[in-house]
């Protein structure tokens, strides 16, 4: 990861900008949502593999800053929604795409299915991911 940042610094012009955009694990919220209401159903569990990935990414950018390669100018968190037609589709997606990184705990799974059973016909299941966006600037020279 540090090599990637070093390469970015090489190909950027002086004063060029790096936008780093990535999800950050933070027990993302699960919701059942329809036009009429939003029901909070629970949260994801964060697994060590995912948390280690986040820590490694943070270390890499911290190192790039320490080395004077890049200066952090602006940073913000924002929500990024993944939405499915049903709880089953969400579970399949998690198993295929996010296995080992996150998973709903048993209570959240139960609560999601209960909320789904009571929801309106237009309901969907969604996860609110936490996204981090940072603007870095390459120093001159």
């Amino acid at each position: 990861m540090v090599h990637t940042l070093s390469e970015i610094r090489r190909v950027l012009v002086p004063n060029g900008i790096l936008i780093d955009l990535r999800p950050v694990l933070d027990r993302w919220q699960i919701e059942v949502i329809s036009a009429r209401e939003i029901r909070e159903a629970g949260r994801m569990q964060d697994f060590p593999l995912g948390l280690a990935d986040d820590a490694a990414a943070n270390q890499s950018v911290a190192r790039a800053a320490e080395n004077g390669w890049l200066v952090r100018e602006q940073e913000e968190f924002f929500p990024f929604v993944y939405s499915w037609d049903s709880p089953k589709q969400m579970e399949e997606w998690i198993e295929e795409e996010w296995e080992g990184f996150i998973e709903p705990d048993q209570e959240s799974n139960r609560a999601t299915r209960s909320a789904w059973a009571l929801a309106d016909g237009d309901a969907r299941v969604q996860v609110q991911m936490k996204m981090l966006i940072t603007r870095w600037r390459k120093l001159e020279g």
Partner: protein
């Protein structure tokens, strides 16, 4: 399976809040199927988007809108060995890649 990603368009909104892409030369690292690329690629002068996943890049090329034909270029390359000369780009976007 029908999955919707970012139906509210938050990512696009924040991307444009954090960088002015107009007329710039942009490198995107970790473009995958080009979902993020398509959200800003109208504005820059040119965009080179790289990824290691050949299947994802194939989808990115197929899904590329015709008006971006000469502006956006998808390439298979490693982020640790970016195949461009020094000081080629005004903006780099690390897309879910660190």
């Amino acid at each position: 399976m029908t999955v919707q990603k970012d139906p509210d368009g938050s990512e696009k909104k924040y991307l444009h809040k954090f960088a002015d892409f107009a007329g710039k030369r942009v490198l995107e690292i970790g473009c995958g199927e080009g979902r993020l690329t398509r959200q800003y690629a109208n504005a820059p002068h040119s965009t080179f988007a790289i990824d290691l996943d050949a299947d994802a890049l194939r989808v990115a090329v197929i899904d590329k809108p015709s008006d971006l034909h000469n502006k956006v270029h998808f390439l298979r390359a490693e982020s640790e060995h970016v195949p461009f000369a020094r000081e080629t780009f005004d903006i780099a976007v690390l897309a879910w890649s660190l």
